[in-house]
């Protein structure tokens, strides 16, 4: 007991590393910090610093005022709109699917295959997803042609496939599985005894969801919705494969600035867009982490 707090004894037990502030222990973590410093922190610093600089290197806020231009504002409205709608839609549908899974056999084949499939599909963004939906409801797509030949033209006058509604629908394809993955643990934490307790006290199904399960699941549900939002907001590949360069979405504006000639005239604009994206995601993810912490209080 006396020895435990005595520095001399601690040092005796660890003669090589010692208890001093600067020790060889730090060397073990050095390669990691060198690597992330170079390939993660440096690029982040580049975009943050670059967003406040002009062509000749002086400090400015003009890059951010570039965001206020109408077509840029439009890009943000589109990106935020698609992210919000696909997050809320994905969260609701994903929660319903997760509930259908949870009420089944916990060790059953159905649950295991749905979880594995969700793992794959939640990652299935990108180019392939664009092709999948072109083959499905594109103007020569299987489902579109089938429905049309049976008298149902889902497009009518406007082909909304390449517009925000179409993009939202495509995003649901990875948002719903992600919701299943992240929301299922919370649903698993709901005990059947709570429902029985509600019923023994005379409560109906509505009472159970309104006063017991609902309030318990609300923080988790909200948190997962935020995660889905960040997920959709960061997505780029599907947009890039589906739409032309410079279309009205933030990632495509960044793409246009990085690949086009405009980079020379205002190099800080791409950085300013990137910083704005990062700030939005940081705020959303911080809220997500807070809600997640609240959920984990009763989850175990």
């Amino acid at each position: 007991m006396i020895a435990a707090g005595n520095p001399a004894v601690d040092n005796a037990a660890r003669p090589l590393t010692g208890g001093r502030r600067f020790s060889l222990s730090w060397l073990g973590a050095a390669p990691f910090f060198a690597y992330v410093g170079l390939f993660l922190l440096l690029p982040t610093a580049i975009i943050v610093i670059g967003s406040f600089r002009t062509l000749d290197g002086s400090v400015t806020l003009s890059n951010f005022s570039g965001i206020a231009k109408p077509f840029m504002a439009r890009a943000f409205t589109n990106s935020l709109g698609v992210s919000v709608v696909s997050a809320v839609g994905g969260a609701v549908l994903g929660a319903i699917l997760a509930y259908a899974v949870v009420t089944g056999n916990p060790d059953g084949l159905l649950r295991r295959s749905i979880m594995s499939a969700s793992g794959v599909l939640a990652q299935f963004g990108g180019v392939a997803l664009a092709f999948a939906f072109i083959a499905t409801i594109g103007t020569t797509g299987f489902v579109y042609v089938f429905l049309k030949s049976h008298g149902l033209d889902i497009y009518g006058n406007t082909v909304w496939f390449y517009d925000p509604p179409g993009i939202t629908l495509i995003y649901l394809y990875f948002q719903i599985p992600l919701m299943v993955l992240v929301f299922l643990p919370a649903l698993d934490g709901i005990r059947p005894q709570w429902r029985e307790a509600t019923e023994s006290l005379g409560g109906s199904t509505w009472h159970y969801w309104r006063y017991v399960a609902g309030p318990l699941l609300a923080p988790a549900f909200l948190g997962c919705t935020l995660l889905l939002f960040a997920n959709a907001f960061s997505a780029y590949a599907t947009l890039s494969a589906l739409l032309t360069n410079g279309s009205n979405y933030v990632p495509l504006q960044i793409q246009a600035l990085l690949t086009g000639e405009t980079q020379q005239s205002q190099p800080g604009l791409a950085q300013a867009l990137a910083v704005t994206m990062v700030m939005i995601v940081v705020v959303v993810m911080s809220l997500y982490t807070m809600l997640q912490r609240r959920t984990s209080k009763w989850l175990r």
Binding site: T17, S25, W26, G28, A29, P31, F32, Y35, V36, F39, L40, L41, L42, P43, T44, A45, I46, I47, G50, L97, A100, T103, R112, S113, S116, A117, G119, V120, Q123, F124, G125, G126, V127, A128, F131, A132, I134, A135, G141, V143, L172, Y173, I176, P177, A230, F233, S234, A237, S240, A241, Q255, L258, T259, A270, Q271, L273, A274, V278, V281, M285
Partner: protein, 268 residues
Amino acid sequence: MNRSQRLKLGIFRVVVLLLMGAFFLMPIGAMLEFSTRGNEVTSPRTLDAWVRIAQTPGLVKGIYTSLELAVITSLGMLALLLPTMVWVRLRLPRISRIVEFICLLPLTVPAIALVVGLKPLYIWVNINITPSVLALAFAYLVLVLPYSYRALDAGLAAIDLKTLSEAARSLGAGWGTVMLRIIIPNMPSAILNASLLSVALVLGEYTVANLLNFQNLQVEIAYVGLTDANTSTAVAVGALLLAFVLLMVLALVGGRLQQQHYVPGQRA
């Protein structure tokens, strides 16, 4: 729950699973259908598009490139992350929060934003280190950090790292031996998990490669899609089905490996 409630729940589950099943299987089916179309509306089903995968040099090269990148990234991730995480747990627990924060950081910096900062860095890398497409592995290692960190962290939490390493060290083992012969064999499923997540991410990566002007599999798929959508769709659905098989294997193998974890006080 009484009988009518049970019945209602049963109907609810069947309806939800059928509708969701349709939504998720339809695009995959449509891709298979699309990739087997002939040139004319009336022409019979054909596997030409699938055959053309092997005849399109860009695609073949893209597949090789992405596979190489996947292997390099996975090995690099294990070499960089695992020793650091073990070391931090044993010797520097007070910085474990910082390491976790850094590893999860890529989740809050979208790839499309990070690539803006990587661009000038890669101009330097291309000139001074290597112009090869494999240089992408540097960036990919950063992108896989959050997923690998979580997988490895779960694995390390499940074993009694301190006891194992101290026992090995007191028997005269060096740190290399501790890593290779004690720690790694005790967490096979976590290592497999972290590696497969990295492989999956690298094989599907498009953002960084495209914007840094490198040709990996996804960039080639998008490029070929401009002229020959059938072949692109064939590759895309092939890659997706391959990912399914890989993850199913992981789920099966992972379940078996999980039981081999070293649990203190429990005998095999």
